[in-house]
């Protein structure tokens, strides 16, 4: 097996210098997710302004893949329109479920295409998706707490 494919420079870089880490105020939705097989955890907050993700902040313990993935996600969705962020979520999830069959669209996923190799390692896909799952959940909670958005 090819370790370099999994641990790409980009991933190691995000792992060592995570972007946007730390929990910040204000936020409307917060989610705590655990990977039950390894005990890795993330707490993630979403702050929505109008139809924009105004901030995504997080605190996590985990392996290089899960930490780098949260950092890459931060870059992709922070400041994005809610709909665009959800589209990225869908695209990244699809990439992770591709079992090594997809390379990912660098145009849209930017640094996140570095995770294409992870999709070959079923045991690590959960790591890569942990932060995204927290984002999805926190967003649902945020929308539920903002009047007029629940029907979105």
């Amino acid at each position: 097996m090819n370790l370099d494919e999994l641990y790409q420079e980009v991933i190691l870089d995000h792992y060592k210098r995570p972007r946007g880490a730390g929990l910040r105020e204000p936020y409307e939705g917060e989610s705590h997710q655990v990977n039950p097989t390894c005990g890795d955890e993330i707490t993630l907050r979403v702050h929505v302004e109008g139809d924009t993700i105004a901030d995504v902040s997080y605190d996590n313990v985990g392996c290089s893949i899960s930490k780098a993935s949260a950092s890459v996600m931060y870059e992709l969705i922070n400041g994005a329109k809610v709909d665009d962020a959800l589209a990225k979520l869908a695209e990244f999830t699809e990439l992770m479920n591709s079992k090594g069959q997809s390379e990912g669209d660098e145009e849209s996923l930017e640094d996140a295409v570095a995770f294409a190799g992870v999709s070959k390692y079923p045991m690590r896909v959960k790591c890569a998706l942990l932060g995204w799952k927290a984002f999805q959940d926190a967003l649902v909670r945020a929308e539920a707490s903002i009047p007029g958005r629940t029907d979105a």
Binding site: T37, P122, M123
Partner: protein, 422 residues
Amino acid sequence: MEAASKLDVEAIRADFPILQRRIGDKPLAYLDSAATSQKPVQVVEAMRRFTDYSNANISRSVHTLGAEATEAYEGARAKVAAFIGAPSPDEVVFTKNSTESINLMAYAFQNAAFDAAADPRFKLGPGDEVVVTEMEHHANLIPWQQLCRRTGATLKWIGITDAGRLDVDTVDEVITERCKVVSFVHVANLLGTVNPTSQITRRAREVGALVGLDASQSVPHIPVDVTELGVDFIAFTGHKMLGPTGIGVLWAKADLLAAMPPFLTGGSMIKTVTMEHTTFADAPAKFEAGTPPIAEAVGLAAAVDYLDKLGMANVRAHEKEFAGYMLDRLETVDGLQIIGPRVPIGRSATVSFTIDGVHPHDVGQILDAEGIAVRVGHHCAKPTCARFGVNATTRASGYLYNTHEEIDRLVEALGQVRKVFG
């Protein structure tokens, strides 16, 4: 002879080494598949390949063997889900056998009794009713009996007609507004009756009861589609469908599994654990505490592949024809009474009978001397025996590898039985 059958029985038999066995100097005629089926080399080989190449514990490690084992196990789940038309693999829970699957359901009600916040569908108490039938295997009777004893609910049942059919005329009367769950056998293991399900499921819906099937004798033999059946849960078991012992299946609707409290607790079914408190994983993991039957799941997947390749409609057609032949021929035996439907309509290739004046033990012994393996006893269906006024029966049951010739041998040997004991 086997004109109606789309199965190439000779080719199938070649896949089952045990069918070459001799009992004394007689070739084995295995007519006891309702108790447990034989396993084709494809199943044994798949398990062996797994053991010799990929064996590891699942869901727990990042190493290659662990990933391969997890994929094999989850792949088996997906295969089983597709086989029974389940909307999602997450609705398939692996257990050790049908019996555990049914107990798991019954304990969902029992454990809900301890939990004020439990889903109301699982709340059971005095005044509430649970409905089964008089033709249940003990596996689908005693768990509900115990549940009723413990919660104060009342157990009721649908009776059996003299012809060995469910007394469906009483369905509306037995299943009342107080009923919370109906669990009934799809194909009866003593009588061979294939029960029509729609009348009972419709009535269960009407009164808001959950409804499930003991599908232990149906999934191996007839096409089963849980979505078409419109039930809430079914239970079946690997060893009766060409698979290994040690694995069973509970299928239940996702929202039901989500609402059910856990049953067995331990590793691999948790989210977080402290000494004081545990939160649980989502189904199916929630119901699979501990190391599951991993190699057995691989074997079951190979069994499903085998059945899929033959086509369950073809298996069904073969057995229907076979049941007809068996019934016709058995009727020719002096003093033989069939217990159960006497026509091959709405029935499986499992036929129970008695022989005047000869105890089933003795019948079975004489048949065994001829190499013919049938089952004798109460077949874990004592209430059915009581209904027909017998203590035990002799039961011959066919599967996809059985031939007319084996029935001919059975009938001939039955002739001798009366000579010894007549």
